[in-house]
């Protein structure tokens, strides 16, 4: 975080944070809806899958230890990494969904596209925040990871479920991160020091 925030920068950051919180809230609601639709359309039995859906490769876990000790920049960078991964994964999901279902389930495709759009918008939002922090990190998107090996359809379904679940978690965490960021902090780079945890 900038050492001496100018009043306009602080205002801008607060504005970005508050808008980001709203975006995250909306995204979580939509992802939860999409998750329900996804589970139903893919014929997945959530109760039996709960323990079996592994973490999605390439996505940082939303739940972290010592969350309250993270700096604002760390938060933003983690968020950015996660949402960039989500963006790629959702795009892949959308492509696979088109391959597998064609025009048969256009509703699910539209919902996926909508969430993908929100994730893209949120990623851009995070990049803006990071730029405001004058850190410069994360401005350039990292090299795209190598395309994952071809998965079976069942594995694609499970991975999609995992992506959406993790995205829902991240939407909550991002809102809290942004809320933490929007609070005035006494010093640069220090942890927010709040007991709150995601």
């Amino acid at each position: 975080m900038a050492a001496a925030d100018s009043p306009s920068a602080a205002l801008r950051r607060r504005d970005l944070c508050s808008r980001g919180i709203r975006l995250a809230g909306k995204m979580r609601v939509d992802v939860i809806d999409l998750l329900d639709a996804y589970v139903e359309r893919q014929g997945l039995d959530v109760s039996s899958l709960d323990s079996s859906v592994a973490a999605v490769e390439g996505v940082p876990l939303a739940a972290v230890e010592r969350w309250d000790e993270q700096t604002g920049t760390q938060r933003l960078l983690e968020n950015l990494a996660a949402y960039r991964a989500f963006r790629a994964l959702l795009a892949q999901m959308l492509e696979e969904q088109r391959e597998q279902l064609g025009e048969a389930d256009a509703g699910l495709g539209r919902a996926l596209a909508s969430v993908l759009l929100q994730v893209s918008a949120f990623t851009y939002h995070l990049e803006e925040l990071l730029r405001l922090e004058s850190r410069g990190e994360g401005e350039e998107e990292e090299d795209r990871p190598a395309p994952p090996p071809r998965l079976s359809i069942f594995e694609q379904k499970l991975r999609g479920l995992g992506v959406l679940r993790e995205l829902a978690q991240w939407a909550v965490r991002s809102a809290r991160d942004l809320r933490q960021l929007s609070k005035p902090s006494p010093a640069t780079g220090t942890a927010a020091g709040l007991a709150e945890s995601p």
């Binding site: 597998q100 025009e103 069942f154």
Partner: protein, 1063 residues
């Protein structure tokens, strides 16, 4: 086996005399024996035998000839052969065998599997082997038996027989087998053997040995191999499918589900389990999940269950533009497969060999596919191929595209030329139609009708038309295109088709002529009429010329008394109409009648006689309006042979009088023939006629009325109704006709010329209500009412006054005469000089009063004992007592019929009547329950006794207390207010009287009592009965001031009499 080098060596060393030999021992024991000969290729044989003496057993070469070559072909022996076996280099004897053909076995060489290739996606094994046909001298039928085994225990799954022909050369045979279980589930083994059906071979034939088993190892034998199989497969609805779950050795499988349903597992190996789903039903769009639940995880696969594609139905191909041939079809039953598994279509044209892949939307019911039109090709032979992972189908069609032209919707419809009766149009259809002729339809409709025309040449001038176009192939009709967008266009104007219909009327003064014309219809006007030209010619001389702009439809010409021929021309922008002419001449007419007519149906019927001299027809003229409105002339022409006309007009209103004039047309002018007044419908008159009373007498009324204005008649007047009946003027009174008055009389006056009427036979000085109504065929008008009072009959009145007066006078005279004559008797009777009480009428009067009550005996003129006052208790007031208990018979019994019978009770000796009596007489209706009215006489001697007794015996009969209550007693009672008992209250209730003042303040004395003397207060004693009757006897024997004393403040006539002697 033929290639085995040891066998070749053996054969090289062997001496074969003939062909295949079966040995028959003919030597002694210990010699070579059990000779067996087998051929594998029907050309060579291998013989074996035993050497029993030395225990040797084996194959020994036996030589027929020697050869240094490595290969020797020996033809099969034709018949039986003798074989001598001699071991070389030994001393054993030679052994001879007889070998027959039938003793030689034919066992093909064991086949060898060339390759066994698995296709895991389809669970198919491909087996390849060589038939070794080249080793046989001729073609043979071969049978191949293939055995499929599964699991580590090599359980046989199936054994199939494959037929082939050996063609004297080596052929690689191939055979596919699709497993009902995914090949990954467990290891699969394949073995093969053969049997050659050599019919010419006489010896025994046998199957070859099984080939060594070829194995396709399952995932369960692969270290680290795991998964659920088959992977992402597609099966047909109704299939039986086996799914297996391969896992690690250390994992334990809990269950397997298909969809959401768990299935019973079959163990294939320690690492592999399977479930079998029978008759699989169609899956959802995302497939059916098959999940293998492990203790510490899960795995799964997705299966898509759908249908093979249906045969395309209604395949049809056409072109709209000769660029693209569009084929359409209905896909039939949906396959239930989507995305990359969806049904794919391709259009193959056989003549050109061109194939086109079709992109179709699987959610559409109709599918289309385009194929480019090829140059110089008219006929196309299409095959529509349909396929999906489950199956495929096809449909074909042969089309000549010149006969399958369905043009696109014409566009850019525009008008290029326009006159009053035709329009030139142009449109555009996208396509290359140079090779064919097009037929186009133009729909023409105007606002007035939906008439469709093929030609657009016979249009009407100045008419708005809507056009639209569609086209098809002219030579070979296939389909019309869609209609183009509509185009509106109005044709140009043309001169009016005819002159206007005209009429003329002279002004009442005759100085001017008003010319009327009717507007031309749209179809006749051929445009917008801008003006009318009116000319007036006398012979060829133009007297007057006027241009009247629209919208006026009349003009006035100053003509004087002369006549002329009037010409009217209508003009629009295209030109003038032909002129319409009419002469102003009106021929004289006589005996013009006026008829009445009422509409029958929707028009007013006017009829007339035939007038032969009316050569140019008739005209009926009328005013469209009536009454005070200015006449808006309308007319209608009829031919000369017409004798009636029905005049219809939407402007005709019911209840309005219209005047029609019938004119006959002659060459010289028009002649009025008759007038007709008519109504479209008759209504009741709007108002009643105004009427007045002209004259009134004691028994008649003369009524006069006025005519109703024509506008208010609303029909032909039929008459008047004059109703009258007795009645006072009252605003609330209903109409006479509605009152139901039985005396109502109605006069119906049908003579319309009559304007007055005299009503006779009325009563004098009586109010009458008159009502007058007019009526038409439509009904009665509202009534007009008047109230008239007839005059008094003076003679009767005089008689009625004079007769009673005369009678009274006469009676008065007679009474005077009688009184005068009987004046002595009257005086004696009524006014004697010395009043005799017995004759006193006044007293008699009193007695009569008392006689009203039978229990009362008043004015018993017993010798008056001055020293006693006799009091009777009258019951005349008894009914006034409200308490019914006081009316009990017991009360009557206590009151003696004759007061003299009991001195202890109320005394009946009368010396006077109490003053209250006079009050009762003077004011009988007053029913005061007070003691004053009840007190008649009081026995002074005993007046205290009852009171005392009453005090002592409260339960004394109430009647006795009801008749009178000494007022002192009441005062006592009043003093005992605090000690009121219920009985006392009851007594209070029974008391008909309450003290009117404080009894304590009363003076107990009489006027003559000592007290009264002392006080000399007469007012205090006034009204007391005691003080009135006798001052001596009113005093009790023993003066007791404390005793209650009755007080009466009343005054009586008897008082006067009683005092009189003392005076």
């Amino acid at each position: 086996m033929w290639k085995n080098s040891s066998l070749r060596c053996l054969l090289a060393l062997a001496i074969l005399c003939l062909s295949l030999v079966y040995s028959q021992e003919i030597g002694s024991l210990g010699d070579p024996q059990n000779l067996k000969c087998v051929t594998h290729n029907l050309q060579e044989m291998v013989c074996t035998w035993d050497l029993s003496s030395r225990g040797r057993r084996g194959q020994t070469d036996f030589l027929c000839f020697k050869t240094k070559e490595r290969r020797v072909e020996i033809p099969l022996p034709e018949s039986s052969s003798r074989v001598t076996i001699k071991s070389s280099g030994t001393s054993f004897p030679t052994k001879e065998f007889m070998i027959h053909e039938k003793d030689i076995s034919f066992v093909p060489v064991t086949p060898r599997i060339l390759s066994l290739t698995p296709d895991f996606s389809t669970s198919t094994l491909n087996l390849k082997w060589s038939d070794n046909g080249s080793v046989f001298p001729y073609g043979l039928d071969a049978l191949w038996q293939i055995q499929i085994l599964r699991k580590e225990t090599m359980e046989e799954v199936t054994k199939v027989t494959y037929y082939s022909k050996l063609t004297h050369e080596d052929v690689i045979l191939s055979w596919n087998w699709t497993s009902d279980m995914p090949l990954e589930c467990t290891s699969h083994y394949v073995k093969i053997r053969c049997y050659i059906n050599a019919t010419q071979f006489l010896g025994p034939k046998d199957w070859s040995d099984w080939s060594p088993a070829e194995v396709i190892p399952g995932k369960d034998s692969e270290p680290g191999g795991s998964g659920v199989f088959p992977l992402d497969t597609v099966v047909a609805v109704g299939s039986d499918v086996t799914f297996c779950c391969v896992h690690e050795e250390d994992q334990h499988i809990t269950n397997m589900t298909y969809g959401s349903k768990p299935y019973k597992m079959i163990q294939l190996s320690s690492r592999s389990h399977a479930i079998r789903v029978l008759n699989a039903s169609a899956s959802d769009t995302s497939g059916t999940n098959v999940v293998c639940h492990l203790e510490n995880g899960m795995d799964g696969t997705v299966v898509f269950v759908g249908y093979a594609p249906d045969i395309p139905q209604n395949l049809s191909c056409e072109t709209s533009n000769f660029f693209i041939i569009k084929c359409t079809w209905k896909p039939g039953r949906p396959s239930g497969l989507y995305g990359e598994r969806k049904t794919k279509y391709s259009l193959f044209e056989r003549m050109s060999g061109k194939n086109v892949s079709c992109e179709v939307n699987e959610m559409n019911r109709d599918r289309t596919c385009g194929f480019p039109v090829l140059p110089d090709q008219k006929t196309y032979d299409f095959i529509l191929g349909v396929s999906n992972p489950i199956g495929q189908a096809q449909s074909s069609i042969l089309v000549d595209i010149t006969r399958r032209v369905h043009p696109k919707t014409p566009e850019k419809l525009s008008v290029t030329g326009n006159n009053s009766t035709s329009i030139q149009m142009r449109w555009f259809i996208n396509g290359s139609f140079a090779g064919i002729r097009l037929l186009c339809q133009i729909e023409v409709s105007s606002g007035r009708s939906e008439k469709k025309l093929v030609s657009v040449k016979s249009l009407r001038p100045y008419t708005k038309y809507q056009f639209r176009v569609r086209c098809s192939s002219a030579d070979h009709f296939w389909k019309w295109s869609d209609w183009s967008r509509g185009l509106e266009q109005t044709t140009a104007e043309a001169p009016p088709a005819r002159g206007p219909d005209i009429w003329r009327e002279r002004s009442p003064s005759g100085e001017s002529l008003k010319v009327f014309w009717k507007p031309l219809s749209i179809s006749e006007a051929n445009g917008k009429i801008v003006s009318h030209e009116v000319s007036c010619y006398l012979l060829e001389t133009l007297l007057e010329y006027k241009v009247v702009p629209e919208p006026s439809n009349s003009t006035e010409i100053k003509l004087g008394k002369g006549d002329c021929v009037i010409s009217v021309i209508a003009k629009n922008s295209a030109g003038p109409s032909p002129p319409s002419r009419i002469t102003s001449m009106e021929l004289p007419s006589d005996n013009v009648t006026t008829d009445q007519a009422v509409a029958m149906g929707n028009g007013i019927n006017i009829s007339w006689d035939s007038y032969p001299d009316m050569t140019c027809g008739y005209i009926v003229k009328w005013c469209r309006s009536s009454g005070s409105e200015p006449c808006s002339v309308d007319w209608q022409k009829f031919p000369s042979n017409a004798t009636n006309a029905v005049i219809r007009s939407a402007l005709f209103k019911p209840g309005v009088r219209y005047n029609f004039s019938l004119y006959g047309c002659k060459s010289t002018g028009y002649q009025l023939l008759k007038n007709v007044t008519g109504y479209m419908k008759e209504l009741p008159p709007k108002t009643a006629p105004n009427f007045t009373v002209e004259e009134t007498s004691s028994d008649s009324i003369l009524v006069k009325w006025e005519d109703i204005p024509i506008e208010e008649c609303r029909g032909f007047l039929k008459g008047y109704l004059l109703s009258f009946a007795k009645g006072e003027k009252d605003a609330l009174k209903p109409r006479l006709s509605e009152s139901g008055n039985p005396e109502l009389k109605v006069n119906n006056i049908t003579d319309l010329t009559k304007k007055s009427m005299k009503i006779l036979d009325l009563q004098g000085k009586t109010s009458y209500q008159l009502e007058l109504q007019a009526y038409t065929a439509g009904g009665l008008s509202p009534p007009n009412s008047l109230y008239v009072v007839t005059k008094e009959d003076s003679v009767g009145l005089i008689i009625a006054i004079l007769i009673p007066v005369a009678v009274v006078v006469l009676l008065g005279v007679l009474a005077s005469i009688f009184c005068y004559r009987k004046r002595e008797w009257i005086k004696e009777t009524f006014y004697p000089e010395i009043p005799n009480p017995e004759n006193s009428k006044a007293l008699q009067f009193q007695r009569n009063i008392c006689e009203g009550n039978k229990t009362l005996k008043t004015l018993e003129m017993n010798p008056c004992t001055p020293n006693s006052v006799e009091v009777v208790e009258t019951q005349s007031t008894a009914p006034k007592i409200e308490d019914t208990e006081m009316m009990s018979p017991a009360a009557e019994t206590t009151v003696p019929e004759d007061g003299s019978d009991s001195e202890m009770e109320n005394h009946v000796v009368v010396s006077y009547c109490p003053p209250i009596i006079e009050e009762e007489i003077s004011n009988p209706p007053m029913d005061e329950p007070g003691g004053s009215s009840q007190v008649v006489y009081i026995d002074i001697q005993s007046m205290y006794q009852p009171q005392i007794k009453q005090e002592e015996e409260p339960e004394i009969d109430l009647v006795t207390t009801a008749g009178y209550k000494p007022q002192m007693q009441l005062s006592i009672s009043a003093l005992k207010v605090e000690g009121h008992s219920p009985v006392e209250e009851e007594l209070d209730k029974t008391a008909g009287y309450r003290p009117q003042a404080n009894t304590n303040a009363w003076n107990m004395g009489t006027p003559d009592s000592p007290g009264s003397v002392e006080s000399n207060n007469e007012n205090a004693s006034f009204g007391s009965p005691c003080s009135i009757n006798s001052r001596q006897f009113l005093l009790p024997p023993k003066d007791d001031e404390d005793s209650p004393k009755p007080i009466n403040t009343g005054w009586s006539f008897t008082h006067f009499f009683q005092n009189k002697p003392n005076d």
